[in-house]
Symmetry: C2
Subunit: 228 residues, 2 copies
DNA sequence: ATGCTAGGTGTACGGCGTACACCTGTCAAG
DNA sequence: CTTGACAGGTGTACGCCGTACACCTAGCAT
């Protein structure tokens, strides 16, 4: 069996390349190895193909990243119907948050993009429509979009990455030192961990914090809506 | 005059390398050419030195980026004294915003970092202290920190980069097409540009939008403070 | 039969971060 | 005064990255 035959078999085995397949592979690689695992070369290798082959389906790295974002945005649920505007916006943003939690690299990539893709524009458009349907004035809707900011895309920066792989001994001493240098952080930490009944939990409930901030904004907007 | 002499002159001319000098140069390069202009190699060239020389003062690219962030954070004004807690927080966050507007690359870099530097921790600590001094409970302060999210660092994502270098003819046609595909965005655009009396202004006032969202959050927090 | 084209290949280039061996001037200890 | 450690700048080299460009080839419309 000659080399050529082997190659032919490989080629026959391999599903033909396609933009969608490339994007799916890229997203999968990024999901499991971070955004830097989604390099042109690694995607190509994963697909059993030479790097330059990708360029027949994607114009370059930028378009690839845009495509990856579109995949994530497509996972966001459509607007709920038959509910309060606030509830609808709330649900949708929480859905966006879930999508971005499934693809932790996506928020960073989104921010690095300069021009929004049609998919992102469609999402924005739909979001604006939800505010309008809820009776917010155009001006207030405009402010609302800005106020939501990155929350619109379902993410807020987590200030502290609580997952630490240091051993408790060292960590305890670290906190001891922090008490002197960063007294307020220490105080906050102590309160939060004390209130938290769960033994080993992550100190604070990200989901709760996200919803807290979201509701703070939505409630404020509703009050302003009533005033106008 | 031999080569050696020339080199000696260069060496004598050049200020000796230092961590601070490297960071200043890196920030300057990033300010004028984006974050990718602050590569090890370009920083070294700017300082008239070979790339590896930097490693005697900075352990690697990560520490360099951390250092660059510290430079920016150090530009944030200290807390104002003798004013309402809300006013003090407001002023400080607006100061942070100014710092990040001077260094547009900084927000993106901050988000890419995993561990906060001592400088950033000190800023956080001070911020927490401001909430506490304002009478917010520890719990509410905790929520406040999360609610502020990236705004704490003085930035919100600008959804649309309004600075376009296309000619008005093309842009007008583009908006015409958008009216069909993204009706809500179009409607919003029309309203905003119509209300804006200024002829060529950027469509919406980023500073106003930032303060709008900030005040929405601060007002909400104050109300919650009163309730508890 | 012919020649066009879509799609995969191979080679090569410039840029990046950085490991590692090397040199050299300075300065304290013997 | 010698010596030797060492701080700090140099040079080379490696493996990664994105991608320009020339090439091949199978399939298909003419």
């Amino acid at each position: 069996m000659g080399m050529a035959t082997q190659i032919e078999q490989d080629e026959r085995t391999r599903a033909p390349l396609s933009r969608e397949g490339i994007l799916r592979t890229a997203v999968a690689l990024a999901d499991q190895g971070g955004v830097q695992a989604a390099s042109m070369r690694k995607i190509a290798q994963e697909l059993g193909v030479v790097p330059m082959a990708l360029y027949k389906h994607v114009s370059g790295k930028d378009e690839l990243l845009d495509g990856m974002i579109d995949v994530v945005v497509a996972e966001i649920d459509p607007p709920a119907t038959g509910v309060d505007w606030k509830a609808a916006v709330r649900q949708r943003i929480l859905s966006a948050r879930q999508a971005l939690l499934r693809h932790p690299w996506a928020s960073r990539v989104m921010e690095s993009r300069t021009e929004p893709t049609p998919t992102v524009l469609a999402y924005m458009d739909s979001m604006i429509g939800m505010f309008r349907a809820g009776g917010l004035s155009m001006d207030l809707t405009h402010h609302a979009m800005h106020a939501m900011g990155s929350r619109l895309m379902g993410f807020t920066q987590e200030l502290f990455n609580d997952t630490s792989d240091v051993d408790p001994q060292v960590e305890a001493q670290m906190w001891g030192e922090m008490a002197d240098v960063y007294p307020s952080i220490y105080e906050l930490f102590v309160t939060v961990t004390h209130d938290d009944a769960s033994v080993v939990g992550p100190g604070c409930d990200d989901q709760f914090e996200f919803e807290f901030a979201l509701d703070l904004l939505l409630d404020g907007l509703e009050e302003l809506k009533g005033q106008s």
